[in-house]
């Protein structure tokens, strides 16, 4: 496959940003994630792949405790961010989410102006003392999300008036504006056309230099293009986790092989 060009530029193994040990997630009686242990590295793009309903999104949402908002959801096991248990009683999930940003499947800009969308996070976290500081953060974030050139003349236009791809990049700009350490992306391109997808993918490659990026995707080509590490989930199990090149060319588990060759899923 031509578009399966693996990122071969990795030279060193980075430190683990997230360490998950024996994580179990239950939705009521439904055991959605079984015994998942994984180390997610810093300054690396990690892709979660797997068939629908396999638990990859659920696991992703555990990493910034978005599952807390679901009443029936229960998480067991340890998830450490830089060695600290994020499910410790003393942890305020809001503080965690400021460090672990998230981009969702469907572009979900606030029904406010483009400027206010990006400035919202910095504002509530008190990151800018003056209007000029805030302007700078907004510009920097929009540039990082490759949206500055398109949006600079219409910062006061509503964010919901942008096209789908632009909206998703606006959401990425909003997420990076709070200077997170990890960026979680839940199928960020599933609602986008190929051109917008490739723009977002370029962006992800760029973001890797600053953050650790975890991306859930249904597209194996996308996983192969953007990630250095890939984790394959199946029915709540983490079946295989390793270097992307390795997973796609030489999978160890027969289920992984079946999935990436299109026999299951």
């Amino acid at each position: 496959m031509n578009d399966m060009r693996f990122v071969e530029t990795r030279v060193t193994t980075n430190e683990a940003k997230f360490t998950a040990k024996d994580v179990q997630v239950y939705y009521g009686d439904n055991h959605a994630i079984k015994d998942v242990s994984i180390d997610i590295e810093d300054k690396t793009v990690t892709a979660f792949i797997g068939p629908s309903g396999c638990g990859k999104s659920t696991f992703l949402r555990c990493l910034n405790r978005m599952n807390d908002t679901i009443d029936i959801c229960r998480v067991e096991g340890d998830i450490l961010l830089d060695g600290e248990d994020i499910y410790d009683k003393k942890v305020d999930p809001v503080q965690l989410r400021a460090r672990v940003g998230m981009v969702f499947q469907k572009p979900n800009p606030f029904p406010k102006s483009i400027y206010d969308n990006v400035a919202y996070g910095p504002r509530i976290h008190g990151m800018a003392r003056t209007r000029a500081d805030l302007d700078e953060i907004v510009e920097k974030s929009l540039r990082r999300a490759a949206l500055w050139d398109e949006a600079k003349d219409r910062l006061n236009a509503p964010g919901t008036g942008l096209s789908g791809g632009q909206q998703q990049r606006l959401c990425i700009a909003r997420a990076v504006a709070t200077e997170p350490e990890v960026l979680l992306m839940d199928e960020p391109c599933s609602a986008l056309d190929p051109i917008a997808t490739s723009q977002v993918e370029e962006l992800i490659a760029d973001l890797r230099t600053r953050f650790s990026v975890v991306i859930v995707t249904h597209s194996m080509q996308q996983a192969a293009r953007v990630s250095q590490k890939t984790a394959f989930f199946h029915l709540g199990d983490l079946v295989e986790y390793g270097d992307t090149g390795h997973i796609f060319t030489n999978p160890e588990d027969p289920r992984t092989e079946s999935y990436i060759t299109g026999r299951i899923g």
Binding site: N108, F110, P111, I124, H125, C171
Partner: protein
């Protein structure tokens, strides 16, 4: 020949001819459309009948019949009258003389006796004496007296009273109507806009002409202030808590079921509750807009909470995710994003709830906010929350229950005023919804 070939030779249905199945489907669709139009036409017809009958019966309440006579009282006449035993009778005599002169000037020759004038105008002497005793500087000056005509004269001009209905009346004679006609053609008796009806307080049972809805408008206003001031914060806080923060468990389920049930409880039950708790236990003043407001708040709360919760629920969850995702707390998420988006729905529910409260009569009857209220009006406004008062619907109910037919038009006129307030509130709801509506 195979089956395929056979079916190909079979006559194919043309799209231009309509088969029986399609015909039946089209007939059904047409029938349904006709049902809908008929239903709407019937509804509009009822509405039109209602509007026309309200306006026809209610408009006369906004006019009143007066007799206007200009006359000058000299100092001598004043002194002479004050020396007499029946002082008011003397003043009535002056007035009658002036009236007679005026009629003669117009070239009308009719019998005018004091009794007839009294039947048409009531006792005029008292009013005139009151005026001159209060304004002695007016003695010697020409003064145009505008005196309200009796209820039956008023009714005669409005078509309520005719010569036939007066056949055996003890209160009026047919010859009086001749005098009224003469006065009318002389321009002495005429109809003017009835400001008393809009600004005045209720009058006694025998004086429909002096009855006004103003005091009860003020009563309703104070009540609505109480309802707004209590039910907006309580209702919105309760719905935000239940919708956004409360855990899903048996207690919240129980509360939810109860809120829905309370919205369906007949309003008179709230009246009994208000009577037994606010008045008998808490000893709040009877007939006070404060108590009325409290009772109506109880009644309105579930009706505000239900649409407010629906409005909050209608905000897409993706907005909540987005806010939580950038590290907003639950409270920030609700107040920065969810609440602004739910505002139009909450406001609509609030105004509809207030509208229902404004038109509610039954609970007010039980806490005594009904009946004759003239005390302190219009001076007692500031203490209005605890002063005995009535409310618009209760006032209308009182008028409708009175024997004098003159109150009939007052009741309808009161309904017009009430409907104007309700319409204003509904228009306000629409405007607010348009203003705050945002798309996402």
């Amino acid at each position: 020949m195979t089956d395929t070939n056979a079916s190909r030779t079979a006559p194919k249905a043309s799209l231009l001819t309509i088969d029986s199945h399609t015909k039946r489907r089209q007939a059904a669709e047409k029938r349904f459309r006709v049902y809908g139009i008929v239903a709407i036409v019937i509804g509009m017809l009822f509405l039109a009948v209602l509007a026309v009958s309200i306006i026809r019966s209610g408009l006369p309440a906004f006019t009143k019949t007066i007799v206007e006579v200009e006359f000058t009282l000299t100092q001598d006449e004043f002194d002479a009258a004050e020396k007499q035993l029946f002082k008011t009778k003397a003043y009535a005599g002056y007035f009658n003389a002036a009236l007679l002169t005026k009629l003669r000037e117009q070239g009308l020759d009719v019998e005018v006796d004091a009794k007839a004038i009294e039947r048409i105008l009531g006792k005029t002497g008292g009013t005139i004496r009151e005026f001159y005793r209060a304004n002695t500087e007016q003695i010697g000056q020409p003064v145009a007296f505008k005196l309200a005509a009796a209820s039956r004269v008023d009714g005669y001009f409005k078509g309520r009273v005719s010569r036939d209905t007066l056949q055996d009346s003890r209160f009026m004679q047919l010859s009086d109507l001749d005098l009224v006609d003469a006065l009318y053609s002389a321009g002495i008796i005429r109809q003017v806009f009835n400001w008393t009806f809009i600004t005045g307080a209720d009058s006694g049972v025998d004086n429909p002409g002096g009855a006004g809805i103003g005091a009860s408008v003020v009563g309703s206003f104070f009540m609505m202030l109480v309802v707004l001031g209590l039910s907006l914060p309580i209702g919105v806080a309760a719905s935000i808590y239940l919708e956004e923060f409360a855990p899903q468990n048996r207690i919240t389920d129980f509360i939810e079921v109860n809120i829905s049930n309370l919205a369906a409880v007949p309003s008179i039950v709230y009246g009994i509750l208000g009577l037994s708790i606010f008045i008998q236990v808490m000893h709040l003043p009877q007939s006070a807009p404060l108590v009325g407001g409290l009772v109506l708040t109880l009644m309105t709360l579930p009706r505000i909470i239900i649409p407010a919760r629906a409005a909050l629920k209608a905000v897409p969850p993706s907005i909540r995710d987005a806010a939580l995702g950038v590290g907003a707390s639950k409270v920030q998420t609700v107040f920065h994003h969810v609440l602004p988006l739910a505002t139009p729905g909450i406001l609509t529910g609030l105004i509809i709830g207030l509208g229902q409260a404004l038109g509610e009569t039954a609970p007010l009857l039980l806490i005594g906010m009904v009946g004759f209220v003239a005390r302190g009006y219009p001076d007692g406004f500031i203490a209005g929350f605890t002063d005995p008062n009535s409310a618009m619907p209760a006032q209308i109910y009182t008028w409708a229950a009175r024997a004098d037919v003159g109150f009939y038009e007052k009741a309808w006129g009161g309904i017009i005023i009430l409907l104007i307030f309700l319409l204003t509130m509904n228009i306000l709801a629409v405007i607010l919804r348009r203003k705050f509506e945002r798309r996402w």
